[in-house]
């Protein structure tokens, strides 16, 4: 065997892309080893890992894998900084912040509303309608969910009311986007404003300045009897809200729907090339309507989780931009349910960590709140490769 062949053999498995990926993994490791339970107290191993990661990133970058390479390089720098910070922090502090079971539970809490909205966003965008109005639909769900639960004395009916409200808002978006051929980003922005107005108006009109009563029926937590008190798992998932479990269950359900059923195939065809779908006899317009309305219901459920599920009250504009993060999760997750789950868990983890960081420093914890948005920006800019959305998203379909 010639020297060239030997050199070529590893080159096949070590494609620039894989080298870049390895860099990403090493970056993560550089940070993780300084955390509980590993708690490496010297930055040396992290430095070595981060340097190796940077090298991998650089190799990938010069070998035509610019996005993943540069991304890995930047991530390695970040990891290095964080690892230094950890190594110089008190072990006690680290253990308080990185109590994994609590972090995981909080991550799930933060991720749930995002997940519902992101799943809705996936359905909507897969059908070819851009849904920047997720925020407004969530907000509708948040208010009308708690209003329903209050008036009808049942969290389940409250969630139902939320979904109806979200569906109505989605219907408006659908009429404008599909029938009136509006610019979908503009109409979505209008929907968001409208939702702030409607929910705020009815909230004040109905509850005045006292806010929602404190005795409203809430979505219960699911107490897993076997593992509720078992260490990490007990803390992390032993006592989790019902809606969280529903959201998690929806991920495989939607995956199967989109990629393994005939209506999923049709939905995707409509979003990619509506003209083609039309010429094989598929009802393009009704499919898009159904998708937008379904997205409104899901997003509203995400909003309802905030009010009826978690906090038990409503305040004006309580979704606070979560719809936009969900939208980012849709893109981050490349329009796939599993991808969106990973993205929302990542964002949820960021928020959970930000919650616990004030142990170190109040003001830096604040700064940490910006991290999910920075990550999204970096992700959208293409660390994970240029993601390609449904080809016809945003283009109204005109039947002749």
């Amino acid at each position: 065997m010639s020297v060239g062949a030997i050199a070529a053999a590893p080159a096949r498995t070590a494609s620039p892309r894989n080298i870049g990926r390895a860099g990403l993994v090493m970056s993560a490791l550089a940070w993780v080893i300084t955390l509980p339970p590993f708690l490496v107290r010297t930055p040396v191993p992290s430095v070595i890992l981060a340097l190796a990661a940077m090298l991998c990133g650089a190799i990938a970058a010069v070998n035509d894998e610019r996005r993943i390479g540069i991304g890995g390089f930047l991530l390695a720098l970040l990891a290095l900084a964080l690892a230094f910070g950890n190594a110089n922090s008190g072990v006690a502090h680290l253990k308080v912040v990185f109590t994994w079971s609590i972090l995981v539970a909080a991550m799930l809490r933060y991720a749930t509303p995002l997940l519902f909205a992101a799943l809705g966003g996936i359905i909507c965008e897969r059908s070819g309608v851009i849904n920047i109005a997720l925020e407004g639909m969530m907000l509708m769900g948040a208010y009308f969910g708690i209003w329903g639960a209050d008036v009808l004395h049942s969290w389940a009916l409250g969630c139902l009311v939320a979904m109806v409200a979200g569906a109505l808002m989605a219907l408006a978006h659908a009429v404008f986007s599909i029938h009136l051929r509006a610019n979908q980003v503009v109409s979505g922005t209008g929907i968001n404003f409208l939702a702030v107005g409607i929910t705020g108006y009815f909230f004040i009109a109905h509850y005045g300045n006292n806010g929602t009563p404190s005795d409203i029926s809430q979505v219960p937590n699911v107490k897993l009897p076997l593992i509720q008190h078992v260490g990490f798992f007990g803390g992390a998932i032993g006592n989790t809200n019902l809606l969280t479990w529903i959201g998690l269950a929806l991920v495989p359900v939607l995956s199967v729907f989109l990629f393994r059923t005939r209506w999923g195939l049709r939905l995707r065809a409509v979003g990619e090339k509506p003209r083609a779908a039309d010429t094989v006899g598929l009802p393009v317009i009704p499919i898009r309507y159904a998708a937008v309305i379904a997205s409104g219901m899901l997003a509203a459920l995400g909003g309802a989780y905030l009010s009826v599920g978690f906090v038990g009250s409503f305040n004006q504009n309580m979704t606070d931009g979560r719809g936009f993060i969900a939208l980012a999760a849709v893109i981050f997750g490349r329009w796939r349910p599993a991808g969106a789950l990973i993205a929302t868990l990542l964002f949820g983890f960021g928020s959970a960590l930000a919650d616990r960081l004030p142990t170190f420093s109040q003001s830096e914890a604040t700064l940490f709140q910006a991290l999910p948005y920075v990550l999204t920006l970096v992700a959208v800019a293409g660390v994970i490769g240029r993601s390609r959305g449904p080809a016809s998203a945003g283009i109204p379909y005109v039947k002749e």
């Binding site: 199967v256 393994r260 059923t261 195939l265 083609a276 002749e400």
Partner: protein, 518 residues
């Protein structure tokens, strides 16, 4: 089995209007099982409109559709499919990111238990059908990765999967290579034997004569007549298609070529999907001559033009204009070297429709000091210059403050041409300069191109129209697969050119006679 004594499909008195434009005027058409009936006419004669009516995409304003003796109303493609009508569209109606199998079954998906999609059954359907009709395709290939010919096969297979008894093919050969056309003819023969009624839409005379049993000619939305293939000749059909004996021709003197202005050397250019589009092309255009690039659409014309105009960076080779190397240097450098470019699509590229005519006329040269100086736009100068050009080019229907969108197509094209010529170019690229224009406007464009030639400009004409190429060009370069197949004089026969366009180069290369290149 289909009753072959009764038409599978009859269209009676179909009329379709778009505003004041009558696209179909009381058109009758029928096709029998086991027959290929060609629908022949120029671009814009109303062929596609008629078939869109048949497929439920347009609702006719008057007329009747009869399938198997039963009058039917076709209000959507779904109805058409149910009636056994299958359509192979000119622009394929396939979802690019999905696989062959997924595209095949879309709308009629086999479902396994639990309601899940049965992709295995879909794949088997692909295999069955492709075996039966000799149309080999890989069911798991993604549409955007396969050739145009394969995509067409998928479209045909899809119609067969739906058990179409009436198959409509809309300009099916426009994008095919010679080999693929040959295969298509074989497939059509097999389908005929099975009793399928086939409507074959085309504007190519020789092709129709080769495939069809009967031929119906449309002109300006009206049916001119139906003739059997036996006894029909290209001449007789041409007369029906065009409506007169003499084909379009322009008076012109013989060229007086001067020094070479454009030299393209071993050019290699890739298309948007990073595939070889121009594959080692070399050509020269001298001042005072019109060199035409002729070929089947999609054989590298677009990429060649874009590379010369500075819109696309070549992979290899050189482009020299007036002694300056402008390879990959961008539009500004090309313009500076004296390249002007009449764009193929005036709506997409040639004009900014919501701009005024004055603004549009400045588009090529807005950096000139008399239009802008020190970053400031000299609006008054811009308008004055526009006024002069509009008068010179006889643009009607608007003044220099009208929006380009308010002009008719012919006048829009005049604006685009005026702008390009006004830049006083050494080399003028005319890419499909008469696409979608009426006869009067075509004549204007042709005359103007010849005038510019006589002023000593080098003109590179890229056209898909035989007649245009033959009446304007001083030399014809036929390209296929991104390569120059041979050079022909303007009086070369359609057969000769056609052969070369489909890559059959043997006979062609030797017939190169007039106007030897540098």
């Amino acid at each position: 089995m289909a009753d072959s004594s009764r038409p599978a499909l009859e269209l009676r008195g179909i009329t379709k209007k778009f505003g004041s434009v009558v696209a179909n005027d009381r058109v009758d058409f029928d096709v029998y099982p086991g027959e290929v009936h060609a629908l022949l006419g120029e671009n814009g004669a109303g062929k596609s409109t008629l078939m869109s009516v048949l497929y439920g995409l347009y609702t006719p304003d008057a007329g009747e559709i009869v399938v198997d003796g039963e009058p039917v109303v076709i209000d959507s493609p779904a109805t058409a499919i149910r009636l056994g009508i299958g359509m192979v569209h000119q622009h394929f109606m396939l979802v690019p990111v999905m696989t062959v199998a997924e595209n095949l079954v879309l709308g009629h998906e086999p479902v396994a238990n639990a309601g899940l999609l049965d992709l295995k059954a879909a794949r088997e359907s692909v295999h069955d059908l492709s075996d039966r009709y000799g149309l080999a395709v890989d069911p798991d290939a993604t549409i955007e990765d396969v050739t145009v010919g394969t995509q067409q096969r998928v479209e045909i297979l899809r119609a067969l999967y739906r058990e179409a008894r009436i198959l409509v093919l809309d300009e099916p050969t426009a994008v095919l290579t010679a080999q693929e056309v040959q295969e298509l003819v074989g497939v059509l023969n097999r389908l005929k034997q099975d009793g399928t009624a086939i409507v074959f839409i085309s504007h190519k005379l020789n092709e129709v004569l080769r495939v069809a049993d009967r031929i119906t000619v449309l002109r300006l939305g009206k049916k001119i007549g139906t003739v059997p293939r036996q006894g029909a000749t290209e001449q007789s059909l041409a007369r029906m298609v065009v409506g007169r004996d003499v084909l379009l021709s322009v008076e012109k003197s013989t060229a007086k070529p001067r020094d070479p202005i454009l030299a393209v050397e071993d050019l290699e250019v890739r298309d948007d999907r990073d595939l070889e589009a121009v594959n080692g092309m070399s050509l020269t255009v001298r001042g005072g001559e019109i060199v035409a690039i002729a070929g089947v659409d999609g054989n590298g014309q677009q990429e060649l033009v874009e590379a010369i105009a500075g819109l696309r960076t070549p992979r290899a080779g050189r482009i020299i204009v007036g002694g300056r190397d402008i390879t990959g240097k961008g539009v500004k450098a090309a313009t500076a070297a004296g390249v002007a470019h009449i764009a193929e699509d005036r709506h997409r590229r040639g004009l900014v429709l919501p701009f005024t005519l004055a603004e549009n006329l400045a588009l090529r040269e807005f950096r000139r000091p008399d239009i802008s100086r020190g970053g400031w736009l000299r609006v008054k100068h811009m308008r004055q210059r526009a006024l002069g050009l509009l008068r010179e080019y006889d643009v009607r229907g608007g003044n220099c403050d009208s929006y380009a969108s308010s002009l008719s197509g012919g006048n829009q094209q005049k604006v685009a041409i005026a702008r390009e010529i006004a830049s006083d170019p050494e080399l003028l690229i005319a890419h499909q300069p008469t696409r979608g224009l009426d006869v009067g406007a075509i004549e204007f464009v042709h005359k103007r191109l010849i005038e510019e030639r006589d002023k000593g400009r080098a003109i590179l004409l890229v056209s898909l129209e035989y007649e245009e190429v033959r009446s304007l060009a001083d030399r014809i370069l036929v390209i296929c697969g991104g390569q120059v197949m041979g050079e022909f004089p303007p009086d070369a026969s359609e057969e000769e050119l056609g052969m070369a366009m489909t890559g059959q180069v043997a006979a062609a290369a030797t017939s190169s006679a007039a106007g030897a290149p540098a």
